[in-house]
């Protein structure tokens, strides 16, 4: 690892801006996994994190496509001392539409199944997962997990 990269990882917060293109979802997962491993997250939790990040980023991409926007979305990992908090920021029109919570639909299309499952999965893996208002506009998805190395 280069000195610059090492210094970057020693910071308390790292972020990555990605274009709203599903082809970059693997990059988002690799970024999140690398941040988590650096701060001592165990491998089982890293796998859970990759899944939650993939769901959140897919939601951000869905929102961007709905708004016909190619503006990047942001994924941030922040060491909060004992916990590692991740956030995916839409920063624009909001993500609520990407994760409908109405479970009353008996025969939803496949896309609807996927989105309902996506939100359920995030909340199952990380009970503190929430979709919240972003003061800068739009909505955020955030969740956190314990880390082995305190800040």
């Amino acid at each position: 690892m280069s000195r610059d990269a090492k210094e970057a990882l020693d910071r308390r917060e790292l972020f990555l801006d990605l274009p709203p293109d599903p082809a970059h979802l693997a990059t988002a997962r690799i970024f999140a996994a690398s941040v988590a491993r650096h701060w001592g997250v165990d491998e089982d939790s890293v796998e859970d994190l990759k899944l939650a990040v993939s769901e959140a980023c897919a939601g951000a991409i869905s929102v961007r496509h709905s708004a016909n926007s190619d503006r990047p979305y942001r994924i941030t990992g922040r060491n909060e001392g004992g916990r590692l908090a991740f956030r995916v920021e839409d920063g624009g029109t909001g993500m609520a539409a990407a994760f409908p919570t109405d479970r009353s639909v008996l025969e939803p299309p496949t896309e609807e199944i996927t989105r309902i499952l996506g939100l359920s999965l995030m909340q199952s893996l990380f009970p503190d997962a929430e979709i919240s208002d972003n003061p800068g506009g739009g909505l955020d998805i955030s969740f956190s997990l314990p880390i082995a190395i305190p800040a």
Binding site: P22, E47, A58, I61, P109, I113, T114, L117, S124
Partner: protein
């Protein structure tokens, strides 16, 4: 830049069609699996086993494809079985309870002889 892809191959095995999936299944790659399964169903194949042993990652987009295919097959009195014994895919099936919805086998041999 990390290149992700998924490899999807199908072959006949007795009364079953075995669909072998390898790689990562997410929003980007799930359409490839969807096209394969829907193509088989449109051809009239109604006993399909999807071998997920080579899948390193799958999110809800992959599950959505599997659930959609299962629903179409059930309308035709068909079956969609899965082969999955380990790793992140087994975990996501367990978390969602879909391991109770799909017949899940330890191997293609076990599925094909069911």
């Amino acid at each position: 830049m990390e290149v992700i892809d998924v490899l999807v191959e199908s072959k006949a095995r007795g009364d079953w069609i075995v669909v072998t999936v390898k790689g990562e299944v997410d929003v980007y790659t799930a359409p490839k699996l969807k096209d394969e399964l829907l193509g088989l169903i449109e051809e009239g194949k109604n006993q399909i086993v999807v071998d997920l042993e080579g899948v390193e990652f799958m999110d809800s987009s992959g599950l959505g494809v599997l659930v959609g295919a299962l629903r179409r097959l059930k309308e035709r009195e068909g079956t969609l079985a899965l082969v999955c014994t380990k790793g992140p895919v087994l975990r996501i099936l367990s978390i969602t309870g879909l391991n109770k919805v799909f017949p899940v086998y330890q191997s293609v041999d076990e599925a094909a002889s069911s």
